[in-house]
């Protein structure tokens, strides 16, 4: 338990930092994004790392993983295991349509002074009152909501699993998320608490960063409807992310709310 909460803390911190070239990136990478046949499966890697998509830092906690089937119901990840640097699980695609595979992290981060010392705490809202001593001064609490996703389609794409939950940053497809091709523009919409997130920076980085000398990030900004378009320069797995912060936390003590979203999207050759 101690180990688990410590790992989670590192992750929360990694994701709370602004995304930059040095930031750790959390990702889910499926073995395929388009499958067919009578009994399709995919296997998914889930990790936090510097390079995309090489597990070199820490695994994603499996209890944070939620798989949504095309009918909107939760599907169970199978054959799950967590190693030193990555978690692995399989998804059995028993329904036709698009599956959403997500890792959702959130919680509170607090800093305060007690007995003349600076202290930090991370945890769930229910634990906050107990965690901070009564004599604490300069208490600052922030909330974070971080969502990391990828998508797999069995046969024809569908929208049933892609409905926004209305909390934090989320992606709504305009172009179908598993239907991306090099040289073609794809359009998506970014939502904040279910409403269009306008004027937000979105960054796309192709995988295999280990084999090139620059991140070669593609920067775009959402328009007034929260929409953005990316023309994929080449085929590959791309990590698309956005982050922001506001003061709309549902936790009364938290003045700041930090939000981030990242998706792994596969772009296929023409």
């Amino acid at each position: 338990m101690m180990k688990h909460s410590m790992k989670w803390g590192v992750l929360a911190l990694a994701l709370a930092l602004p995304f930059g070239a040095q930031a750790h990136k959390m990702w889910l990478v499926p073995s395929a994004t388009n499958v067919s046949g009578a009994d399709p499966w995919v296997t998914v890697d889930a990790a936090v790392s510097n390079d995309l998509f090489y597990p070199d830092h820490m695994p994603v906690a499996l209890d944070r993983v939620v798989v949504t089937a095309p009918d909107g119901h939760a599907a169970q990840p199978e054959n799950a295991l967590t190693g030193k640097y990555r978690s692995v699980f399989d998804v059995h695609l028993t329904q036709p349509g698009t599956y959403k595979i997500a890792a959702v992290n959130g919680g509170l981060f607090a800093s305060y002074e007690a007995d003349g010392q600076k202290k930090r705490w991370r945890g769930e809202p229910a634990e906050l009152a107990k965690a901070i001593p009564a004599n604490a001064k300069n208490v600052e609490v922030s909330e974070s909501i971080n969502r990391v996703e990828t998508f797999v389609t069995n046969g024809k794409p569908s929208d049933g699993a892609l409905k926004a939950e209305g909390k934090g940053l989320e992606l709504a497809p305009v172009t179908r998320v598993t239907d991306l091709a090099s040289g073609e523009a794809a359009t998506f919409q970014l939502l904040l608490d279910g409403k269009p997130a306008s004027n937000l920076k979105v960054m796309a980085i192709a995988g295999e960063t280990r084999y090139r000398n620059a991140q070669d990030e593609i920067d775009v900004t959402t328009d007034k409807d929260g929409k953005f378009s990316i023309t994929w320069p080449h085929a590959g797995m791309y990590w698309v992310s956005a982050s922001t912060q506001d003061d709309k936390s549902s936790i009364k003590q938290a003045k700041v709310r930090r939000l981030s979203y990242a998706a792994t999207l596969e772009v296929l050759p023409q």
Binding site: N34, V35, S36, G37, A38, D39, T153, A181
Partner: protein, 171 residues
Amino acid sequence: MRRLSLTLPAILLAAPAAAADLNVTVQIPQLNVAEYHRPYTAVWVEREDHSVAAQLAVWYAQKESKEGAGTKWLPELRQWWRRGGRDLQMPVDGVSGATRPAGDQKLSFHDGKAPLGPLAPGKYELVVEAAREVGGREVVRVPFTWPATAPQQLAAQGSSELGAVKVDLAP
């Protein structure tokens, strides 16, 4: 009812007069590789907006397996899969079949008859895509205008997974 019985024979008589043929030859090259598998191959007709006007042929491994014969690998025919392969429920009568060996594979289609169906006059592309296990993938396109006013021979050349693709149009 009387009206219908009068017009129906007229349509049946008119159909053969408008019939046009589309003959396709797909050359599957002989490849000297350590591990050879016959290519999965799709042949279809695209309109100018890339929508599918007709699915003509899909060749894939037919051997029974838990994964449903070779249908697991159909998305490897990437363009075909995006352009409409994923909308089909395999197998499709008169369209799907076993993979073919190296050589010239001849196909014949007739206007108004499945799988070509009635093709509205206009500009089209005949598209052939091949993808091979532990091999490569290639797409060859042959633009044509339908229907042909005179017999016409068109061709395009593949460079790796496909050889010559010939299209013979008969008015």
